[in-house]
Amino acid sequence: MSIDKDTARRVAHLARIRVEEDALPALAEEFNAILGFIEQLNEVDIEGVVPMTSVTPMPLKRRADVVTDGNQQDKILKNAPDAREGFFAVPKVVE
């Protein structure tokens, strides 16, 4: 599978990373080198092998469904690049 400039542009957009048009060919080339390395996995016989979802078999613990913290709006907003009136502020998304 070979990645071209259009695919590189699409992936960059999906990842929400701005890549300038003139940087796309080099990016596609890097992807191809890495994917070429990954292609080795096609040699492995994986017939009937279950994909790993947890490296150490353990059931996830449960806890009572109760509120254990909260009321820390100030702390949550403290590091925001733009916080106003108790909210995170972003550019307008709805006209």
Binding site: M1, A15, R18, L27, V44, T56, N79, P81
Partner: protein, 495 residues
Amino acid sequence: MSELNKLTISDARAKLRAGDVTSVELTEACLKTIEGAGALNAFVHHTPEIAIDQAKAADVRIAAGGAPDMCGIPLGIKDLFCTKGVPSQAGSAILNGFKPEYESTITQQLWDTGSVMLGKLNMDEFAMGSSNETSTYGNVVNPWRRGNDEAALTPGGSSGGSASAVAADLCLAATGTDTGGSIRQPAAFVGITGIKPTYGRCSRWGVVAFASSLDQAGPMTKSVRDAAIMLAAMSGHDPKDSTSADLAVPDFEAALTGDIRGKKIGIPKEYRMDGMPAEIEKLWADGTAMLRDAGAEIVDISLPHTKYALPAYYVIAPAEASSNLARYDGVRYGHRAKLAKGEGIDDMYEKTRAEGFGPEVQRRVMIGTYVLSAGFYDAYYRRAQRVRTLIKKDFENVFDAGIEAILTPATPSAAFGLGEMADADPVQMYLNDVFTVTVNLAGLPGIAVPAGLDKQGLPLGLQLIGRPWEEGDLLNSAYVLEQAAGFVSKPGKWW
């Protein structure tokens, strides 16, 4: 009281308890040494006021008697750990200015035992790298040099700041994290000990996530005994991390009996790579002989899927990273790009991430996005997860056959020069983790122990891999190897 910064944790513990030194004296010795070691670029955020306050409190506790093992010990903390009110940037510009309002579980546990925080340590951006050249703070320099050659060498990565700081005696020990080898490879490159515990032994809460199914924190120390002492303080179940194991933490130090008679240690033939330097091969053979001489039974074993570990890792880790790093969007914390008139929220996301992430992080996030995207998920991600099952099965098979530990080289070479890999294909850099990455994929404990010097005078390390939750037993094997190898070399001070 000179050179207190050179003490091991165990020696400092004895001196503190005997009243021969105070934690304040130890801490001041480290702070002074750090001040003179700017050329290494290991410490990137200094917290001398916190350190002195903690040291004073530790001295009170020690004087009262019954203080924990780590009480009064000055440490460096990798920048990946969130520390309350102290910059925690994961080596990334996208977290410029970020000061957490909370403390990671592991660092909290360390402070609860009375340990002292000297500051935050440099690292590869988001722990992605093997040479500490991807950090927003600039490169870390290895205190070791090739003889009289002044060329600056890498301390390895991603825990390069931790490695450099411990090797140069800027602190008694440091925290590290390991996703594909990020504790063990740098430890080997600077001649110190580093252990990655079993996945789930240490809480990941408050540690900036790279690849959640692979990430584990661990100590980087001057001796195996120190690793045992510090690991105990970092371990334990945490309700805030659902993947942390609800298991009792054994007394790892008590496991250091020095007796490995009759223990079955495996030598995996697949780790004998084509083109492996003769010195690495010899080191491995020497290490094998040392363990045999100590009474271990050496067994040739096979881990047939070893060669597929790195390609599987370079699907799984970027996939998890692309998901984990989606949170850096310029909204809640860190950097936000300035927008031109008329630009909207998508422009904000895209520009913020292009400005905030360095090239290696961008590359991995995009590879991860690609392998998870519609039409490729089964071909790449699902296939890699199935290969991961096979890699783990390889280890289970040899452990079921009675093997108790596995000996391998820690790295395929000694430390290389900063900038030497700049023109190489990214895959060449990834090969640094060829011996360590299998351990993360299988969730096992692994430890790097310094075992010798190469002909250029640079340290080389060996790796021991243990059974799940058997860190005590693994540390004991490492202790025997350490005693037999008798590695005592230190880098000559040039900085």
